[in-house]
Amino acid sequence: MSKMNLTRRGVLKTGAIAGAGVAAPTIFTAQSAAAFTNEPTGSSVTLGFNVPQTGPYADEGADELRAYELAVEHLNGGGDGGLMNTFSSKALQGNGILGKKVEYVTGDTQTKSDAARASARSMIEKDGAVMITGGSSSGVAVAVQALCQEAGVIFMAGLTHSNDTTGKDKKANGFRHFFNSYMSGAALAPILANNYGTDRKAYHLTADYNWGYTTEEAVRTSTEAMGWETVAAVKTPLTQTDFSSYIAPVLQSGADVLVLNHYGGNMVNSLTNAVQFGLRDKLVNDKNFEIVVPLYSRLMAKGAGANVKGIFGSTNWHWSLQDEGSKAFVKSFGTKYGFPPSQAAHTCYVQALLYADAVERAGSFNPCAVGEALKDFEFDGMGNGPTLYRGEDHQCFKDVLVVKGKENPTSEFDLLEIVEVTPVSQVTYDASIFGGELGSCNPGA
């Protein structure tokens, strides 16, 4: 007859260990026969589209989702093939990815970091997504990218413009096709100097969060290098809706340019308020008062209506581009949905295809193999001209568009006109200037 020695300390220790084991997410603990997280074993592969379906960027999220659905259709051999016809790499054959039919699940980021991480985690753990992509916010992108790094899946960022995404917060499993704040500043400054002169006094209103800071810094650095003086830079709360009390002091500051480092609803409201206050009709320092919006989005420009006319900004892509890739994408998207795609839709579609192409070239879904295939990958035909996925920081380098609000739009989509296509050489920077470490690739399992 054996005797069991049950002690309080022993029970507590055993319980704690068992509890921790049960509580820990299986994806971070499971040891299976799979070589990497969510290795597809059947005839299909699942991608996770994590986009804002509710919240302030829901319209951008809806456009991203349309683009992903179009990409899945094209990858599976449906539709007209879209950008697969113009893409310089010919690895994709329209038979899914590595012969597996592409399926997808969607998550709602709500443009909140915690909600975005929860939906990404759910898609990885419950739905078996082998790659996560999408989003319309840098805060979300950085949070989800870190989660994907831990989980051992690839993250193909959607619309995220902060330098940090591929700067101080970069990760080996994360890749960004969209441009960033530094590139906006570098592309915009010469155009601003040409149009408004080098003797200007700028007043910055900056959204009080990560993206706002990096954008302000980028535009300040670039314009000050051209001879502009920054008279003030004021942080505005992200929740602000009426900017009148921030606009009014601009009048007495001696500034003759207002730079609105705002995006989304912030941009729509601050620009509308600035125009209402008649800033653009004023003469200050014997010069016309000017307004600059560093990051433009067509969907946001629509919200600001006629107030965007004549205002300079930058954008990652625009449907009016006449290269073969852009024309193919606009035709494909426009035929399916009845309106031209936004830049968010474009970058998400391209990211989906770039991932699929990298898997085909690598011959594996293993995130480390995919990452190697994406590193220093040079491609063309995707609507931005020759593009490099730089290996040092996983940032795409391509031409940047400087745009201006169109004076006489012919339709509700015709809001921006391209002023200049800034060559990639002018917006390229040393990867080390923003710090951060990629770390090593994590395949998960």
């Binding site: 302030p56 829901a58 809706t241 009148s244 009048l251 206050f277 209506g305």
Partner: protein, 343 residues
Amino acid sequence: MEAIILQILNGLDKGSAYALIALGLTLIFGTLGVVNFAHGALFMIGAFCAVTLSRIISTSHTIIDETQTDFLGNPLKVEVPYVMDWFGEATGAAIIDWAVPLSILFAIPVMIAIGVIMERGLIKHFYKRPHADQILVTFGLAIVLQEIIKYYYGANPIPTPAPSAFVGSFDFGTMLGFEANQIIYPYWRIIYFAFAAIIIGAVFAFLQFTTFGMVVRAGMADRETVQLLGINIDRRFTLMFGIAAAVAGLAGVMYTPINSPNYHMGMDFLVLSFVVVVVGGMGSLPGAVAAGFLLGILESFASMREVLNVLPGLNQIIIYLVAIIILLTRPRGLMGRKGVMEE
């Protein structure tokens, strides 16, 4: 000095919106005793009345312009509003241009109807329930209403400009003897302030100088006695709910040219408006109006660069800070009466 005058002007239009919403909240609280967290949603629905009427007026038929192409290279489909066919191009364009002021006429019956339906359909079932239940159900209703608006109108702001006659700004500086361009203020914001003053005056006059208003005031003071006199006070209170909804709705209609409306705009004003009601004194109509303007002006001053340089972030907390101070020194608020919410 110029900066101070400018911030007072800024505070007046912001205070106008606070005051109008708080006035409606106080009317509902004073008559029905309901804490209505869906009141911000009524402000938002009012704004979308302007969007809706603007779209109705702009309803168009399509003609093909063979001389131009669309984004796919097909002949351009040009939308021609029916009002231009019916009334001629110039008159039709003028009607579209004046969509926001015209929306006032559209919003009044719509908002009264929404208010009455809301009160009869949902709120009346919560009269005898604790305030916490009322807050939960009305907050839930607010979320439902804003999600419905988002479903039909999208999440992005929708530009709803003022008539072109009111675009631009007025130079107060020149009028007051200051340098030109130093104190300028948009025409539409001046109109918003004047409009708010008229609405507030009309509500007070309605309550003070009409028999209906007298009965309502009597009901607010002593509901049971009024009922014992054979007056159906419930019906009048239901109509007051409708009027309060209309006041919030009109505030929303006229606000659309100031900030492009979106589904979330009601929530942005709701919490601040509740603070306004509490600071003004629960159930006090003059208190709500006074506190609305007071807090609007204080918020504007706190947003001055000179202030923020010394106390960063003050503009985010000033209203709550003042609320704490006032409630510590005057627990019933600025004009609160004894006995309200004190049972």
